[in-house]
């Protein structure tokens, strides 16, 4: 006689079991759940009341804000300023075109299997800055000139972060290759450059760019404040970029280098055709992460007097016409940054999983 077959173990799926397992598994956990739950419930309710239910959304003057909640009026009133800064109203279509092109080149990257999305991305990295160079400042093809002192808001934040990354990428590649070079002097120069820039805070770099750069340049050559900030950000960022890329170079198995040597490829062919394509693919998530931190760090330019999105909001808060909207303003900027950064970081994590082809040692 054989034993009767045993029934499969019960898999607990009911909500009651889930709650018991995840919230009340021991007296200690139960206590923790009750205390934390009480704190969450008592703080989330008033928070939502302030954000939505008691908030003022309609109206067009500061005096319309009578509720006890947030005053979102000033955001809708000043939205134009927060996005374009002092860019003239009738020329804002130029910035809109750039926003459109930016969305066009990068939104396909989030969609799996979008036809030709590689080319959209490539355009974003190469064509887009060129178009922007002609379109945003004007002065070509009969476009009216808009001085960089009038740029501001979200537009300026995106320009700083985007140019910072695009320009620092090639410099970073050169520095990373230099740091892995077999020539001691070239390696030394690159190490010193990278380590010095990485050791100093961005504020010192921005101060230096705005105060000392004019001293470094020969007479008659001068840059606008935005350009000086961009030079500082690019040099600083390229040191970080170099370290990210170096990580990729080190992760390439030795066999790849040796195989390239065995095929008789010279240094540039070996680097350009064998090593860099693999290394760069591997560090795309790292580059995206550097972009996120640069994107957050661009807020620092308000200290040297440029009006990025935080700068425009900060100047509105200190405007006597809109008093006591400080928290609303900060929540708005925080939300803008959060959407961008959280979205991009999720994308980068996704990419990391997809690109993990087992090369990492």
């Amino acid at each position: 006689m054989t034993e009767p077959m045993m029934k499969p173990p019960k898999i607990a799926t009911s909500p009651v079991v889930w709650i018991r397992q995840n919230l009340f598994s021991s007296w200690y956990n139960s206590l923790l759940t009750l205390v934390v739950g009480y704190l969450v419930v008592t703080s989330v309710g008033p928070l939502f009341n302030w954000l939505f239910f008691d908030a003022t959304f309609l109206g067009d003057e500061p005096s319309d804000c009578t509720g006890t909640g947030a005053c979102w009026l000033f955001i809708s009133e000043r939205l134009n300023f927060f996005i374009y800064g002092f860019y003239p109203d009738d020329l804002q279509w130029r910035v809109d075109v750039m926003f459109g092109l930016l969305a066009l080149s990068f939104i396909p990257q989030f969609i799996e299997g979008f036809p030709g999305r590689k080319w959209f991305g490539l355009f974003g990295l190469t064509g887009l800055p060129v178009v922007g160079y002609f379109l945003v400042p004007g002065g070509y093809f009969g476009l009216e000139v808009v001085e960089s002192s009038k740029w501001g808001g979200l537009m300026l934040t995106l320009i700083l972060a985007y140019i910072g990354i695009i320009a620092s990428l090639p410099i970073g590649i050169v520095l990373a290759l230099g740091r892995r070079s077999e020539m001691p002097i070239i390696r030394g120069i690159c190490v010193v450059f990278i380590e010095v820039w990485r050791a100093v805070p961005l504020i010192t770099v921005l101060f230096m760019a705005s105060v000392m750069l004019p001293l470094f340049l020969p007479d008659g050559v001068n840059f606008e404040k935005l350009m000086r900030a961009l030079i500082g950000i690019t040099l600083w960022q390229s040191a970080y970029m170099a370290e990210v890329i170096r990580g990729g170079l080190q992760a390439i198995p030795r066999g790849q280098y040796e195989a390239a040597d065995a095929l008789g490829l010279g240094y540039w062919k070996k680097t350009g055709l064998i090593i860099l394509p693999q290394a760069l693919k591997m560090v795309i998530p790292g580059i995206v992460n550097t972009f996120i931190s640069l994107f957050k760090d661009t807020t620092l330019v308000l200290i040297i007097g440029l009006f990025d999105i935080l700068g425009t909001v900060q100047s509105t808060i200190t405007d006597p016409a809109w008093r006591s909207v400080a928290i609303e303003g900060y929540v708005f900027v925080a939300f803008c940054f959060w959407i961008f950064c959280f979205g991009i970081s999720r994308y980068s994590q996704n990419l990391e999983r997809k690109l993990d082809t087992g090369h990492k040692t």
């Binding site: 077999e182 120069i189 010095v196 050791a199 010192t204 340049l217 957050k296 928290i327 900060y330 959280f342």
Partner: protein
């Protein structure tokens, strides 16, 4: 037979294909470029400074500064020199960095462990904290704490009061200041003696454990020694400590210790922001210890509390230390955001006011950058030493 004199080896490469010669050539060019670039910069700078009438040299450090600083750890007033403003700024930077590193580490470890909690609510709450805080710019968070939260506290006359000795208002947090009286040296001596005793106890307990396998409760006994010995000495010396209480004088408080709102805002923001990164580092560190290690410890009969301390944490630390170091470095560098809210750190005082007053940009920027370079290098050196101690001992 005649000896062949023909060399059968192929001829060496032409000089311009010889890797050694090429490498010397390229390095020579690199040096030449660096020198040429450096020379051009120096030449431009010198001629620019001359045409603008900016003096050079470090003599300005001995001139009178003539401006006040709202907070300083060393005695300072406006009659002192620019060199003194450098010291004040440096001390303030070091103070806020050290405070931030301590609190960020504590919060970060708590949140990182909470993220792995078996309690669903706690784990999700930690996740929300991490994802919200680390995706918002630090400068914005500093502004939020400074202008929106601390700025809306009541004025000194309506301050929040705890027991008549702690006061909180929009000018800062006021705490009683301990003032040591005669005979307090005995207490310091007792503290020193207790530390020596605990170190000795630890060495003895370890030796005994290695010899006999019996575990001595070093931690509990050590804490008891550290508390009881100084307390006994304190009472024996006749409680030689008095408290200087803050009190409302005119429009503001006097006496006691003041934590100015600039420091508080910077401290809170730096701690919370860096903690969100540390939490993720701690989480990945703990996850990196494979389950087999805990199971093996259980199989050996090691109790749960010791498993965590002796098996999991030492292995997790190896993964945690290197990224933790770079977070500490980031925190020290981020403390320079103090400029934006007027906390008198090195950048605000020295690179801000002193630079503006003297105009000697090159010297001031060079000194400031040298300081940050030193701070960065010493933190990484210190952490490298610790890392070497924690690394895998391979034979």
């Amino acid at each position: 037979m005649t000896k062949q004199t023909v060399d059968s080896r192929p001829a060496g490469p032409k000089p311009w294909y010889d890797p050694r010669i090429r490498s010397i050539f390229f390095q020579f060019i690199a040096i030449a470029l660096v020198f040429w670039g450096g020379w051009t910069l120096i030449d431009n700078t010198l001629s620019n400074m001359e045409s603008r009438g900016i003096s050079t040299g470090f003599g300005f450090l001995k001139e009178t500064a003539g401006f006040g600083i709202i907070m300083s750890l060393v005695p300072y007033d406006s009659t002192m020199t620019y060199g003194r403003t450098f010291v004040v700024g440096l001390m303030n930077t070091l103070l806020v960095s050290a405070m931030g590193i301590v609190t960020a580490t504590i919060i970060g470890f708590i949140v990182g462990v909470a993220r792995l909690s078996s309690n669903w609510l706690v784990a999700k709450l930690a996740l929300v904290y991490i994802e919200v805080i680390r995706n918002i710019p630090l400068l914005l968070q500093i502004f939020f704490w400074y202008f929106a939260v601390l700025g809306s506290l009541p004025s000194p006359r309506q301050s929040v009061e705890v027991g008549g000795s702690f006061f909180l208002n929009n000018r800062g947090l006021y705490l009683p200041e301990p003032i040591t009286q005669e005979g307090f040296g005995l207490v310091w001596g007792a503290v020193l003696a207790a530390i020596v005793a605990v170190l000795g106890l630890r060495a003895w307990a370890k030796k005994r454990q290695l010899a006999t396998g019996r575990i001595f409760p070093t931690f509990k006994v050590g804490v008891a020694i550290l508390v009881i010995v100084p307390a006994v000495a304190y009472l024996a010396a006749g409680a030689p400590l008095e408290w200087d209480l803050p009190a409302l004088k005119g429009f503001n408080f006097g006496g006691g210790i003041t934590i100015i709102p600039e420091l508080a805002a910077l401290w809170i923001a730096l701690s919370l922001y860096t903690a969100s990164f540390i939490a993720e580092i701690v989480r990945s560190g703990i996850l990196s210890v494979s389950k087999g290690q805990t199971e093996a410890a259980k199989a050996l009969g090691i109790p749960n509390s010791l498993t965590l301390r002796l098996v999991v944490i030492p292995q997790a630390m190896r993964v945690i230390i290197p990224p933790l170091t770079s977070q500490y470095l980031n925190l020290a560098k981020n403390s320079s955001l103090a400029t934006a809210i007027g906390y008198p750190d090195l950048v605000a005082v020295f690179m801000g006011t002193t630079l503006n007053q003297t105009g000697q940009a090159v010297e001031v920027v060079a000194i400031t950058m040298a300081v940050y370079l030193t701070i960065s290098l010493s933190i990484s050196l210190f952490m490298n030493i610790y890392n070497r101690a924690a690394a895998i001992k391979e034979r």
